[in-house]
């Protein structure tokens, strides 16, 4: 035996060992789907099935299984066509079968030398885990829905007593004005302020739960229309702070749930108006640009800026920056933004320098990316 024969023999032994002893099932079928060869793993599970057809060996089916595309593969007479399916075998195991056509020797006219190499992997434990995960996921979805509903109901039911509280205090201050001393009046003012704050908080919580619960269909909408509406809603606040507002000339058409993105941007612009603080020349830039497959909205202010250590924290619920002593701050606004953006498979982030202003960005995937990701 020369060296070449030795090498071939060695190579054969190695391949044979891998083939025979691997933990997955390997088999070879002819073009009539008859088993010509099976490895030890398969023999151990199903016994010797040489000569039987694959559907008999795995599934006890006398006829080919529904949806089997091996015939099509053979009819096409092409090499290396892969066919994968996952099914439950006759022993109740979940098998992932991968079949690959191959030609051994010279190919006949009708593909008679075409063989099929098959690999059967036992996916039972993975399937069980998948099932368990699916159940847990479903439970989680249900719990989340319950929680959203709870927040909505609680917030809604709390609105009524707040109106009562504000109303009664207002009546006292109006109808009994001449009987109230300054201290009493101050206490009433405190109650009124607290009730107002609670009202804002409840409104924000309602918005947050609404973002989680409602989904309007996405539509193609010019970013300019969205920004115009956002600016329009905060016109009063912009004017009263004397903010110089700059908007992009050109803006793309984006693909989103219009109302949800308007809500997110209203929160960002409202924050920017708060951030510009005492700057004698308050300026806010707002717009939308295309970056690759994304449309990126931005809101830039020349206000107090944010310390980098708070970049992540500010998007958590009930987080407010101490610098902003605005009684209207509830710490829910950026959580609403984050949730709205998450629902859109987008991103939100901030770039800022203390004392020099902040820019908040929202990136939303283009229609093509959304359709690809959602498989529509």
């Amino acid at each position: 035996m020369d060296m070449k024969d030795m090498d071939v023999r060695l190579e054969y032994q190695i391949l044979n060992n891998i083939f025979m002893k691997t933990g997955d099932g390997f088999f070879i079928m002819d073009n009539d789907k008859r088993i010509k060869f099976m490895n030890q793993h398969l023999i151990y599970i199903y016994g010797n099935q040489i000569g039987k057809k694959c559907h008999e060996m795995f599934f006890d089916n006398l006829e080919p299984c529904n949806g089997c595309s091996i015939n099509e593969i053979l009819e096409d007479n092409k090499e290396s066509i892969r066919h994968t399916r996952c099914d439950r075998d006759k022993l109740g195991r979940w098998l992932e079968m991968t079949c690959l056509t191959t030609t051994i020797g010279s190919k006949g006219l009708k593909g008679e030398n075409t063989y099929i190499i098959g690999m059967a992997s036992d996916m039972t434990s993975r399937k069980k885990l998948e099932d368990a995960l699916r159940v847990k996921n479903q439970e989680l979805i249900q719990k989340n829905e319950e929680l959203e509903k709870f927040v909505y109901t609680v917030s809604h039911d709390l609105k009524s007593p707040i109106l009562s509280l504000q109303g009664v205090v207002s009546v006292l201050m109006e109808d009994y004005a001449d009987k109230l001393d300054n201290e009493f009046r101050e206490y009433l003012e405190d109650i009124k302020k607290s009730a107002q704050k609670m009202g804002l908080l409840i409104q924000d919580l309602l918005d947050l739960s609404r973002v989680g619960r409602t989904r309007n269909p996405r539509e193609e909408i010019p970013a300019r229309d969205i920004i115009n509406e956002v600016v329009d809603r905060l016109k009063f606040q912009l004017n009263s702070k004397g903010v110089e507002l700059h908007m992009d000339e050109e803006m793309p058409v984006c693909y989103c749930d219009k109302q949800m993105i308007i809500l997110a941007l209203v929160n960002l612009l409202d924050n920017a108006i708060k951030f510009v603080g005492n700057n004698p020349h308050p300026r806010i830039d707002i717009g939308c640009r295309t970056q690759g497959d994304y449309h990126v909205f931005y809101v830039k202010d020349n206000g107090i800026g944010i310390d980098p250590k708070y970049y992540e924290k500010i998007f958590e619920i009930f987080q407010t920056l101490n610098e902003i002593k605005d009684p209207r701050s509830t710490g829910v606004g950026l959580a609403i933004v984050k949730r709205a953006v998450d629902v859109h498979m987008g991103k939100v982030w901030v770039e800022s320098e203390k004392g020099k202003g902040s820019t908040f960005f929202i990136s939303l995937p283009s229609k093509e990316v959304v359709l690809k990701k959602t498989g529509k």
Binding site: S160, L163, S164, Q166, G167, V168, V171, Q196, Q203
Partner: protein, 139 residues
């Protein structure tokens, strides 16, 4: 000329009454606190016992026993009563609630503002609108 207020929150009743008094409608308000009372008042078993019909109904959505929506449906389904303007009151801006109310022919839907001044103004304006500007009862 009376205004029928169907509302279960006693403080809201006081506040609405006060707003109406300030608008000059103080003597005309009849208050009922749940849907059953509203049914008995508007649809007595013996029609001869029916009280004089109100010119305007202010109807809270969330009232005990029989909901505001059911009361609305009954009013708008009644040949004699359906021309009475019904203004629905709620603390919610829930779109489903609004759609349901308008589907059953509510004339207005007022979301009670949390700020009391806004609340007073809104109540006053809506009552003036239905009683003086758009007086459908005379049609």
């Amino acid at each position: 000329m009376s205004i029928l207020l169907i509302e279960d929150d006693t403080i809201h009743i006081k506040l609405i009454k006060r707003a109406l008094e300030k608008a000059g409608y103080g003597d005309t308000i009849i208050c009922l606190e749940d849907g059953e009372q509203a049914f008995r008042y508007l649809f007595p078993e013996d029609a001869r016992e029916r009280s004089p019909l109100p010119r305007l109904v202010l109807l809270d959505i969330n009232i005990p026993k029989i909901s505001g929506i059911e009361v609305l449906k009954r009013i708008k389904g009644d040949g004699m009563l359906r021309n009475i303007p019904v203004v629905m009151l709620s603390t919610s801006k829930n779109r489903n609630d609004m759609e349901t109310c308008f589907r059953f022919c509510a004339n207005s839907y007022v979301c009670k503002p949390l700020d009391f001044k806004d609340f007073e103004t809104k109540i006053k304006n809506i009552v003036i609108y239905w009683l003086e500007v758009n007086d459908v009862m005379d049609e």
